[in-house]
Each structure stands twice: as structure tokens, then as C-alpha cells.
């Protein structure tokens, strides 16, 4: 555990050195929020509520999406893949920490920096221009933090799994892009899941992807409340466990196959 915390700390320091990149990312995500908010306003076209999501709620949904791009790595990550190709995975494999945990610490450090800089700041700026709603009670905040933490876990496990494709093909980036396209669509990042036709959002809810994003935002907005809260978090936990389990099996098969070219 102490090692885990230390790894996180290193990763935080690493990420925090890229200050200009952080600010540039913040600015880009922020402006994109404007473009996307305009689409939502036009879609609502005067309606105050659609399928349980108010206009303010939908705008906040978009703002959180933009704010969480970096925290939840919604566009995907390819770092583990790169180490398979460069061969530096060899030194990671002989470390006294499981690969899954090692990368989790590295990923979490980056994410935490991004949560503060590109997440909270973006929400604050966005609130100057658009109505941004917030949980009404302290308990609401607690549930939100839990749900977002669970979202992060599911997102991490999913990305870890996708990266393992590198063990089987010389360029898994294409597969990665496809996989992340799917998760962006089905997680609600592109458009809030509630605004899709019923059949499609129901289809999405059969996949792990809503647990990566949609659940966290709906808990924040209070759209999911009361007795549904425990259920929603349970589903997130279930998907995390499933993804971890899957990735461990695949990782084991991958390592057996792995050949590191000397150098």
C-alpha cells in the first residue's frame, strides 16, 4: 500500500510538470463544451425536460463530460501498449507489483491532477456561462464521489483490457481506437444516454460502458436517487470485477506469448 501511494505520488509529480499542456487541454475542453452545449439547447428547443433530464441537467451533463475527459481518460490511453512494443514492459513485469496495480497507480496519479486542473476548473468556468447544477446535500456529494471513483475504476480496467491487444498484433492502436469509439458512444459521453431512443439506451445498459461515465453523472445530477443509488453503484462494482477478471486471464495468456527482443 505504501508502495502504491508512492507510485501515485510520482505520477502526480510527473503530470504536474506539464503545465502548459494542462492549461491547453483545459482551454480546448472548455471551448468544446460551448459547441456541445449549443447542440443540447437546440435539441431541447424550449422543452424544459426530456425523459427525466432537465435542460439544466443536460447542460451540466455536457459540462461534466468535458470536465472528466482527462480524469476518466474518455478518449482512451495507449501507454501500456507502447511498453509492449518498446520492450520496457519486461522491466515492469519483474517488479514486485502486479502489472494491473502498477499501471493503476500511474494512471491514478495523472487522473488526479487532471481532475483538479481540467475537471474542477472547467466546471467553475463553465458555470459562469451556463447553468450548472450541483448535488443538493452533503450525502449527494458523498454518493457522487463514490460513483465517480467507481467510474474511474471501470474506465481504468477497460483501458487496461484494451491495451492487452498489443500482445497479439504489431499495431493495436487501430483496435484501441475502435474500442474507445464504442465506449465513448455507449458510456453517454457523446450524448446523455437518456436522450437516445429507449431501445438504444437499454442496449447500452447491457454493456460496462454506462458504468464508466453515465452512472457517475446521473448520481451527481440526482437523476438516480434513493434506493436506486445502491443498485447503480453495485452495477459499477460488478463491471469492475468482471473486467479485472477478464483482463487477468488475457494478461496471463499474453505474457506466455510475449517475446522481448533483446537490446
Amino acid at each position: 500500500m505504501r508502495l502504491f501511494l508512492h507510485l501515485i505520488k510520482l505520477s502526480i509529480l510527473e503530470q504536474a510538470t506539464y503545465r502548459t499542456a494542462l492549461v491547453a487541454g483545459l482551454v480546448t475542453n472548455f471551448f468544446w463544451g460551448f459547441f456541445r452545449a449549443a447542440v443540447i439547447v437546440a435539441l431541447y428547443n424550449g422543452r424544459s425536460e426530456v425523459n427525466g433530464l432537465t435542460l439544466e441537467g443536460a447542460l451540466t451533463y455536457i459540462a461534466i463530460g468535458q470536465a472528466m475527459i482527462a480524469f476518466l481518460s474518455l478518449f482512451g490511453t495507449f501507454d501500456l501498449m507502447t511498453t509492449v512494443y518498446s520492450g520496457s514492459i519486461a522491466s515492469d513485469l519483474i517488479r514486485p507489483v502486479p502489472l494491473f496495480v502498477l499501471w493503476m497507480a500511474r494512471d491514478l496519479g495523472h487522473s488526479l491532477v487532471n481532475l483538479v486542473v481540467r475537471g474542477l476548473l472547467l466546471l467553475l468556468f463553465f458555470a459562469l456561462f451556463y447553468p450548472v447544477v450541483m448535488p443538493e446535500s452533503l450525502l449527494g456529494w458523498v454518493w457522487t464521489i463514490l460513483a465517480l471513483a467507481a467510474s474511474w475504476l471501470v474506465s481504468y480496467a477497460w483501458r487496461f483490457l484494451v491495451n492487452l491487444a498489443a500482445f497479439w498484433t504489431p499495431d493495436a492502436r487501430g483496435i484501441g481506437r475502435g474500442a474507445y469509439a464504442l465506449s465513448q458512444l455507449a458510456s453517454g459521453f457523446i450524448i446523455p444516454l437518456r436522450l437516445y431512443p429507449e431501445w438504444f439506451s437499454r442496449l447500452c445498459h447491457l454493456t460496462p460502458f454506462p458504468a464508466m461515465f453515465n452512472t457517475g453523472v446521473e448520481v451527481y445530477l440526482g437523476v438516480v436517487s434513493g434506493s436506486q443509488l445502491g443498485w447503480a453503484l453495485g452495477v459499477q462494482g460488478m463491471w469492475f470485477i468482471v473486467l479485472v477478471f477478464l483482463s487477468q486471464i488475457i494478461l496471463r495468456a499474453g505474457i506466455r506469448k510475449l517475446v522481448i527482443q533483446g537490446g
Binding site: T28, A42, L182, I190
Partner: protein, 269 residues
């Protein structure tokens, strides 16, 4: 000129051969790139099942806007791959531009020939499919002028977006690091142009009318082709300004490129 062209084609053919080395991963790349981009239209398509239209634009009309700009951006991204600020900044950082400067051929030509990202075919193809979907489902009253406007839009959009790539790369002569803010105009431009411009707040629309006049590249020609009334009351020639916008932007960008190039200082790597 002919020499230059054959040199360019030669450089590109080398690029293509190297990209085709891993055939399977090349095609998965093409397909997944296409799917990635298509997922954006697909979600618009789905959401319009619930809402019917956006700012008075039906699914098929939205498909027209989207398909057009996607084809153009994909083509531009392929043609101007070398000027992609992301890859060009690497060129600068690693000092590769020094080699380029030593050769007795135009620098711009070499940069054009330095990359040709074939997997953009995926993006172009999905854009083309969406455009076909639009044209099949829309009762367009075709006239020679409307038919001619389609390729003009395409070329103008390529020129305008390419100009932004070029300008973005030129900035790295000073900054060395890529300037991420340019993405708001390039990738953001595609996003903005794939929707009817009336949905944007007045200040944003003003920006895209008078400063970076994206509004004339896709929205106005589309209004004309689809026989939709102009909701903004701009002059009647507005649908035909695309080539002017594309031409001027590309001209300005190439001048800027020349200025930047003469200010280039190697990183020494």
C-alpha cells in the same frame, strides 16, 4: 512544375508502401478510424429519433452537412498530413527540418511529401456513406449550379482547413511545442460546421462569420442546395463565397508559413 509533381508523387508512393507493410493492421486502422468518426453521426442519428429535428434540420439534412465536411476534412487530413501540427511539431523538436532545408527542393513540397496518412480513408468513406444517405433521402431539385457547387465546396473546405493546419504548424516555428489551441479551430471547426450555424450563440456565430468565416464553407452552400431559406438574412451571394474563403485562407496561411520559415531557428538536436 512537372518535376515537382513527380517528386511529390514519388515521396507519397514511398509513404504508401511503408504504410501497407502491415496489411492487417492497416485495414483494421482504416475500419476503426471510420467507425470512430461514424459513431458521432450515429449518435446524432439516434438522438434525432427522439427529437425529430435540430433547429429545423431533419436527420437527412443534418447528414448532408455532416457528410460534406467529413469528406473534406478527411481528404485534407490526408493531403496535409505533413502539416498536421501534431506531427510537424515533432519535426521541429527532433531537428528534422534542418535536413529538409539542406535539400534543393521547396520546403513546403517536402513537408507535403513527408506524410500521407492513408487510414484517413476510413473517415472519408464513412463521410461519403453519410452523404449518400442524405442525397438519397432528400428531395433535392438539382440544377447545374447545385451540382457544380458540390466539388467547389469540397475543394474550398480542404483549402480552408488545410490553411489552419499550415498556420498551426507555422506557429511551432516560434513555440516548438505544438499549440493545442489550434485544435479548437481545426477539429472544432469540423464539429461546428457539421451543425446548422443558427444553433450557436451570437458571439460564436459572429466569430465564425467575420473572423474565421466557416459559415460560408458548409452552412450557406447547404442552404442553397437544399432550398432552405436563409434564417440570418445575409446577402444572396453568401452561398457562393466558399471558394473565396478557402482561397484567401490558404493564401494567408502560405504567406504566414514563409514568414515563419524565415524565422526558423533549429533546436540543435
Amino acid at each position: 512544375m512537372r518535376h515537382q509533381l513527380s517528386l511529390y508523387l514519388r515521396l507519397i508512393s514511398i509513404q504508401l508502401r511503408s504504410q501497407m507493410q502491415f496489411r492487417v493492421s492497416f485495414w483494421t486502422d482504416v475500419i476503426t478510424t471510420g467507425l470512430l468518426n461514424f459513431s458521432y453521426f450515429f449518435s446524432t442519428y439516434l438522438v434525432l429519433q427522439r427529437f425529430g429535428s435540430i433547429a429545423g434540420w431533419s436527420v437527412a439534412e443534418m447528414a448532408f452537412l455532416y457528410g460534406m465536411i467529413e469528406i473534406s476534412f478527411g481528404s485534407m487530413d490526408m493531403l496535409f498530413s505533413g502539416f498536421d501540427p501534431d506531427s510537424f511539431s515533432r519535426f521541429i523538436r527532433q531537428g528534422l527540418l534542418d535536413q529538409v532545408l539542406l535539400r534543393p527542393v521547396s520546403v513546403a513540397l517536402q513537408i507535403f511529401g513527408s506524410a500521407f496518412v492513408m487510414r484517413r480513408l476510413g473517415r472519408i468513406t464513412q463521410g461519403a456513406l453519410v452523404l449518400i444517405f442524405a442525397l438519397v433521402n432528400l428531395p433535392v431539385h438539382w440544377t447545374p449550379l447545385k451540382v457544380g457547387l458540390l466539388p467547389v465546396m469540397w475543394i474550398s473546405q480542404i483549402a480552408a482547413m488545410g490553411a489552419l493546419f499550415m498556420a498551426g504548424s507555422t506557429l511551432t516555428f516560434w513555440t516548438v511545442q505544438r499549440v493545442e489551441a489550434i485544435n479548437i479551430l481545426t477539429y472544432g471547426g469540423v464539429e461546428v460546421m457539421s451543425y446548422p450555424m443558427t444553433i450557436y450563440p451570437r458571439w460564436l456565430r459572429g466569430f465564425f462569420t467575420y473572423l474565421i468565416p466557416f459559415i460560408f464553407l458548409n452552412f450557406y452552400p447547404a442552404l442553397y442546395i437544399l432550398d432552405k431559406p436563409d434564417p440570418l438574412g445575409l446577402p444572396a451571394f453568401s452561398p457562393f463565397l466558399a471558394p473565396l474563403v478557402g482561397g484567401v485562407m490558404l493564401f494567408l496561411a502560405s504567406r504566414f508559413w514563409q514568414v515563419g520559415l524565415s524565422h526558423y531557428q533549429s533546436t540543435g538536436t
